[in-house]
């Protein structure tokens, strides 16, 4: 493992910013640390960068201990690159000087310095802008300089602290794909902190979800989206419809989950995927994502609920509906065509997409 975080805790007086977080990141892996404000993700990054000391636990990089209570390797001796939220470029240095700086401090031979700088400029598509100062660059270009600087010495780990937050929405979409390309091309091991689930899913191999300083769930983006361990994760990863449910029976099936039947409101029976270890009689909530509810003509069919539309919002690519299910909850669904408020519709669910969360 390239990076190992063992039972890491950080306390500021009476406040616990991180509590017993453990994580292993493989070489070349990109891990996104996701969480709402105050979840401890920036604290985790600061401990790794050497800006903050842990109260408990240990951080190791390629087998070398970087931090534990009473020991903190100086930031300049950690071999870590970092991309800051507002990029932290030095206003008195040109693009070339900025990218060269870490190579200079490492006393890399001069020829190699310039060779590496031009390699990186090509990688981040800034070939012709080497002589520019930060204030002569756009937001996206500044970000590319910051990435190139972090990659310059081929560090064992790259930390990215919400690097898209200073960019506008359109640029953010372009940069997401670009960033993933650059990191993979450099085979960088990276920890990417963000509060944007779309960014995390687009860039990372694995996502780590934090809340109130605790690790809630770690897994691939699809695992967190489709099989969240709790309601918080489900909601954080995307829009969710909830139904009170109880497991009726469970069938053994290969893989990380089981299939079974759950009852909704004690009457409707749904085929659902159920976490391992959950047996008949377990009460909880059934999650159906809006994109898995399809609007059909209002007639009774299996796997279809009667509902009437209470709100319809045009969002360009589709309409977003709020519909009240007869004797059931109000749900969100998407539909490609216009639907009028008050219209009676049928809502068909895809049974293999229902996920049961025990509560």
């Amino acid at each position: 493992m390239s990076l190992e975080i063992l039972n890491l805790s950080v306390r500021y007086g009476a406040v616990t910013a991180l509590s017993g977080v453990s994580l292993a990141v493989g070489s070349g892996e990109i891990v996104a640390v996701l969480g709402p404000s105050g979840s401890g993700k920036t604290t985790l990054l600061q401990v790794l960068a050497g800006i903050q000391n842990p109260s408990r636990g240990e951080v190791r990089l390629e087998g070398r201990t970087l931090a534990r209570p009473g020991l903190s390797v100086a930031p300049e001796r950690r071999g870590i690159g970092m991309v800051f939220q507002d990029f932290a470029l030095w206003p008195h240095m040109t693009v070339v000087d900025t990218i060269r700086f870490p190579l200079e401090t490492l006393r890399t031979p001069r020829r190699e310095q310039f060779q590496r700088v031009s390699e990186l400029l090509a990688l981040v598509h800034l070939g012709s802008l080497g002589d520019r100062y930060p204030h002569e660059l756009s937001g996206g270009q500044r970000q590319r300089v910051a990435i190139a600087r972090a990659l310059a010495t081929r560090p064992a780990l790259i930390l990215l602290d919400e690097p898209m937050s200073s960019l506008d929405a359109r640029l953010r979409e372009t940069m997401r794909a670009d960033l993933a390309r650059i990191l993979r091309q450099e085979r960088a091991t990276a920890l990417y902190v963000t509060h944007d689930r779309l960014e995390a899913m687009a860039v990372a191999d694995r996502v780590l979800l934090l809340r109130s300083g605790q690790l809630i769930q770690a897994g691939t983006p699809s695992e967190l989206y489709e099989q969240p361990s709790d309601c918080f994760t489900a909601e954080f990863m995307g829009p969710a419809n909830w139904f009170e449910a109880e497991v009726v029976n469970v069938n053994a099936s290969p893989g990380a989950f089981l299939t079974g039947t759950v009852s909704i409101q004690g009457t409707t029976l749904l085929k659902a995927r159920v976490p391992v270890g959950v047996g008949p009689g377990t009460r909880g909530a059934a999650l159906i994502r809006p994109e898995h509810l399809h609007v059909v003509k209002a007639c009774p069919k299996p796997e279809t609920w009667q509902a009437h539309v209470t709100q319809a919002t045009y969002l360009g690519a589709h309409w977003q509906l709020q519909a009240a299910i007869a004797n059931g909850p109000s749900v969100t669904a998407y539909h490609p065509a216009a639907v009028t408020v008050g219209e009676e519709i049928g809502l068909r669910y895809e049974s293999n997409t229902v996920w049961f969360i025990p509560i």
Partner: protein
């Protein structure tokens, strides 16, 4: 009253108070007989010729330039060290030293010069000590001015230190740089423009200074430019053309320094904050008491010592030796010309000039706020540039303009009357009051005014019901600072005070030049104490009023988050959403 009338008023005020006197000065330097009767349009270089043939004039320019450069260097070193101690390390009693920095900045320079003179000057407390030779020399003047002006450098460099985010340092450290390399390669280059800008402000201040030029430098037989202007206008034989030529040279030098300073600070790369929202953290000090002793010593020398000199001399028996305490100097202030009457007179001028300056400042700043046409733009440029005009030049301009025989014929020759002095005081404080008043206007969201106008309110009602209640506190501070500035004002007062009715600073200088050190010192002490009490009381009353009002209404975010000068922002395309959650 409409906005058009208001723009006209603002234009008239700036033209009369600032533009015409400065124009008169410039014209006087080129057409020396323009204001004679009959006027002559003969262009003459007589003023400049006289200047270049006058060894005193030439020497004053060379002295001033040399003094300005050397003082700027010393003040930058001192100011930089203080800024480092106040902003970059954990210094005990930091708040106290910050307050002391402001105190030194605000203390009138002629009082500091006077304090040093009382200590080491002829007839001073330590007149026979070893430091007399140094103090009464160009080196001594440069040191005293550096000790008075280093807060400008401190403020400039402190501001730059606060403007650097800690991520800039973290980025360097994570790039492999040691603490030393980070300072050498990152922080020092980032602070350099601010240090240079601070040095240029000090340079402009030294060139403009009249307080030390007319006290310590005068005693040290070290002629400076501002005093040369004064001497050319006030000592026999009077030479207005030479004074005008000297004033033009002074304005050019000061404006050049100010222009370079603005150019440096306006460059985009350095004006923006870089490196995250969190400031650089303060580093712990290894031996804090050494630094504490050093900074304490600096403030003792810069402020406490000269202040003590004044207080000590004020209790010295007239003509007696130091050490015999007496109240005779204080008692002698009553019923004597150049005594307490000067304080009362200056108090009257200060109240009037503060009030008039505030009204004028508000009128001009509302006109600015409206962003009128070319006329307002020109006035804006003129008002902001005149912040660089030294008081002695403003006073000279007032003499040239308001002393014209042609104005005398229509009964408007104001020179020698209290009105000319009052108008000059207002003109002197105008650039400052307009800047602060305009700054406060930005706090009012445009929709708050628009709402009042759509409700049918005209300009007068908008001013009375919206501007005044919202900006009362800021405007009060503008008045208070103008008031305090006028009380101890020296250069304009020296040139324009009506015969037989001297102002406070003129009175103090007169006592010193008459070798009545004790009386001058007593006048200084009692005026400072009385002014301190008045400013304190005014501040106390204002705080009480503000606190009472805070119970009635909140003063923030009156109408949305956008401020008057913010660029219009793009509309939000998506609203935050909360979808489909439903608990059965």
């Amino acid at each position: 009253m409409g906005f058009r009338t208001l723009n006209g008023m603002a234009a008239a005020v700036v033209v009369i108070l600032i533009a015409l006197p400065l124009l008169a000065l410039l014209l006087q330097s080129i057409w020396p007989d323009l204001f004679s009767l009959p006027p002559s349009l003969r262009i003459s270089g007589a003023g400049f010729n006289a200047l270049f043939q006058d060894p005193y004039g030439i020497r004053s320019i060379v002295d001033s330039a040399g003094l300005a450069v050397s003082t700027a260097v010393i003040a930058t070193v001192l100011g930089g060290a203080v800024a480092y101690l106040l902003e970059a390390v954990e210094l005990p009693a930091r708040g106290f030293f910050t307050a002391m920095t402001w105190l030194v900045l605000l203390a009138p320079s002629f009082l500091i010069g006077q304090g040093w003179q009382f200590l080491f000057g002829p007839g001073g407390i330590w007149a026979k000590g070893p430091l007399v030779g140094i103090l009464l020399s160009p080196v001594g003047v440069a040191l005293v001015l550096s000790l008075k002006l280093f807060p400008f450098s401190t403020l400039a460099i402190s501001g730059a230190l606060r403007g650097i985010g800690q991520d800039v340092v973290h980025a360097a450290r994570l790039s492999g740089a040691s603490l030393w390399t980070t300072w050498r390669r990152i922080l020092v280059p980032l602070l350099l423009p601010a240090a240079l800008a601070g040095a240029l402000i000090v340079l402009a201040e030294v060139l403009s200074d009249f307080g030390v030029a007319s006290t310590l430098a005068q005693t040290a037989n070290f002629p400076l430019l501002t005093y040369a202007i004064y001497a050319a206008m006030e000592t026999f034989p009077v030479n207005f053309s030479e004074a005008a030529a000297l004033a033009v040279i002074l304005v050019v030098l000061v404006s050049l320094a100010q222009w370079v300073e603005r150019w440096i600070m306006g460059r985009r790369g350095y004006a923006t904050r870089w490196g995250g929202s969190q400031n650089l953290g303060r580093q712990p000090l290894a031996r804090p008491w050494i630094w504490l002793a050093a900074i304490s010593a600096l403030f003792v020398v810069a402020f406490v010592l000269p202040a003590w000199g004044i207080v000590a001399v004020s209790f010295e028996s007239p003509g007696g030796s130091f050490g015999h305490w007496t109240l005779a100097n204080y008692l002698s202030l009553w019923g004597r010309t150049y005594g307490l009457d000067t304080f009362v007179r200056s108090l009257g001028y200060a109240v009037a000039a503060g009030g008039l300056g505030l009204v004028v400042g508000i009128v001009v700043s509302i006109a600015w706020w409206r962003r009128g046409g070319w006329l307002i733009a020109a006035l804006k440029a003129l008002t902001t540039t005149t912040i660089a005009i030294p008081g002695i030049v403003l006073g000279a301009g007032y003499i040239f303009f308001w002393n014209q025989p042609i104005l005398g014929r229509i009964g408007l020759a104001l020179y020698g009357t209290p009105a000319a002095l009052l108008l000059a005081y207002v003109a002197g404080t105008l650039p400052y009051s307009v800047r602060v008043a305009s700054g406060s206007m930005v706090q009012i969201p445009p929709n708050a005014i628009f709402a009042a106008r759509t409700a049918g309110a005209g300009l007068t009602r908008v001013i009375v019901r919206i501007f005044i209640p919202m900006l009362r506190d800021t405007w009060f501070r503008v008045w208070l600072i103008s008031f305090a500035g006028v009380i101890f004002e020296l250069p304009v007062s020296e040139l324009l005070y009506p015969a037989g009715a001297p102002t406070l600073a003129v009175g103090i200088i007169h006592q010193i030049h008459s070798m009545r050190f004790g009386t001058g010192a007593a006048l200084t002490v009692i005026s400072t104490v009385l002014m301190g009490v008045m400013v304190g009381a005014a501040q106390f009353l204002q705080n009480r009023c503000s606190r009472r009002d805070e119970h009635k209404h909140s003063r923030t975010h009156w109408a949305g988050n956008r401020m008057a000068n913010d660029p219009p922002s793009a509309p939000r395309l998506s609203a935050p959403r909360k979808e489909g959650k439903f608990s059965l």
